[in-house]
């Protein structure tokens, strides 16, 4: 892992960049995309997450909605990270991301830019912002597998 990724300035810039210019930030009308509406109970984050999952592979991830910087940015990074991954790979990444948020051991290399959120637990009330998009994505993956059982 690049040591640059340990530089707080870099990490901040990653969050800001994705917060202001979120990637994959437009929903698709293609019926192959499945969608989850994630409305946080305790804050105003209200996003829609979409994924196109085929043959055990995540072809695309999209999202949109009203949300704070932390949730917008973390969802944007998630989308970039997971596009093109297999379901197994995606699950591993999600697992490691959650471990990081919970301040448990995790594999930095798998998380790439997502490690920018390594300190979000410092503001415990913001953890849900850093995970809302990830939760939506995980639910979509779960559903895609159920449908193939």
């Amino acid at each position: 892992m690049s040591s640059m990724m340990n530089d707080p300035m870099i990490l901040r810039q990653i969050i800001m960049d994705h917060g202001q210019n979120p990637r994959n930030h437009e929903l698709s009308k293609d019926p192959e995309y499945k969608e989850k509406h994630m409305a946080s109970d305790s804050c105003i984050d209200d996003i829609h997450v979409q994924a196109k999952i085929k043959d055990g592979k995540i072809d695309d991830v999209r999202f949109d909605g009203v949300a704070c910087t932390i949730s917008t940015s973390s969802t944007s990074i998630m989308s970039e990270l997971l596009i093109g991954k297999t379901i197994e790979e995606a699950r591993e990444i999600i697992k490691n991301y959650r471990a990081m948020i919970d301040e448990k051991p995790y594999d930095e290399d798998l998380l790439e830019e997502a490690i920018a959120f390594q300190n979000v637990g410092k503001q415990a009330n913001r953890i849900h912002c850093a995970t809302i998009g990830w939760d939506g994505m995980e639910a979509l993956i779960d559903e895609s597998e159920e449908n193939h059982d």
């Binding site: 409305a39 109970d41 305790s42 804050c43 209200d46 415990a124 009330n125 913001r126």
Partner: protein, 410 residues
Amino acid sequence: MDVKRIREDFPMLKVKSKKGYDLIYFDNAATAFKPYSVIDAVTKYYTNYSVNAHRGDYELGFTVDTLYEEARERVAKFINCEKKEVVFTTGASFGLNQVAYGYAGKHLQPGDVILTDEAEHASNYLPWMNIAEAKGAKLEFIPLDDNGMITPEQVEKMMSNKVKIIAIAHVTNVLGAEIDIKEISRIAHEHGAIIVVDGAQSAPHMKVDMKDLDCDFFAFSGHKLCGSTGVGVLYGKYELLEDMEPMLLGGGSNARYDMCGNILMKNPPYKFEPGTPPIEATLGMKAAIDYIDAIGMDTIYTYEHELRDYMLKKMQSELDNVEIYNADVESSIITFNIKDVFSQDAATYFSDKGISLRSGQHCAKLLMDVLQTPSTLRASLAFYNTKEEVDHFIEVCKSINKESMLDVFF
């Protein structure tokens, strides 16, 4: 159990009556005294994090939110259920109304039957009477046996495919009879009915295990459990909570709504908790549960029943001026009268001697038709009561008669 030491925890046990007697509090079924730890929990809220719950916009808000949800978890552990099955209410009365209005009101069809009985507290009778009337359903009464008990056999006899809901108390408030909920739940489910349990008098005095009882709803109050007034719990099996309408709507219980009349409610338990909750009372209830569990519910149960036996035997052997109505019932309550003295007159006399007893119809007004007396006295014990208190009570009983009871007015 070291009752001397336990009594040190309760400031109320240091209070004296107007005439200087030690206070002997035998009205524990109405409400229980609070240990210092409960008072401290309430005060701590006021002095350390006195902000609103349900929001984490700032440090203290998050702190309170976390404590509030910890209280929910603590309750879940206390009654052995999932955290998400714990709805905070303002007391047993609210919980029972919520189920009548929001579950029965949604599901009952004309001709359906709600089974209840004549030993219920008004809070577990009037809501059912009301919803039955609104829905064209019928209330039917499970006959009480000679001891005022409801037995599974009697319930079984009353069952039919019309019975949709059984609403009964776990422990009745006038006689203190312990009803076999586990078996009645089994019968209810066998017939496709649900069972709603009024646990106001059981939760403070015995282990109540939702998984074991297998009841569908269970309501109780914090204040009878040595906690604050103004807070209570409604347990419901999660699928049933999902299938119940909230009685109240307002800030906090809805996730989203728009002007076209669409509301997206939160999931249970939150959809039943609109508005600012009784925060300090909830934290007080948590402290009360901690306190009670530290002593041990089984220990409490054993002690209270021993003390009641002691009292009962003394009343039976040393007094000839009392009539006891529930001598044959397993209970921590004694329901009685002083011969020739109207209950309320007797209660005034007891009070004058420092003894707090409840007189009257105890809210289970119907039961009086069964006991055949317009009113009774009720002595309800708690784990902080003592044999010495009972002894004093016996002496006072001896001194009451139709003449002496007027002493208090002269």
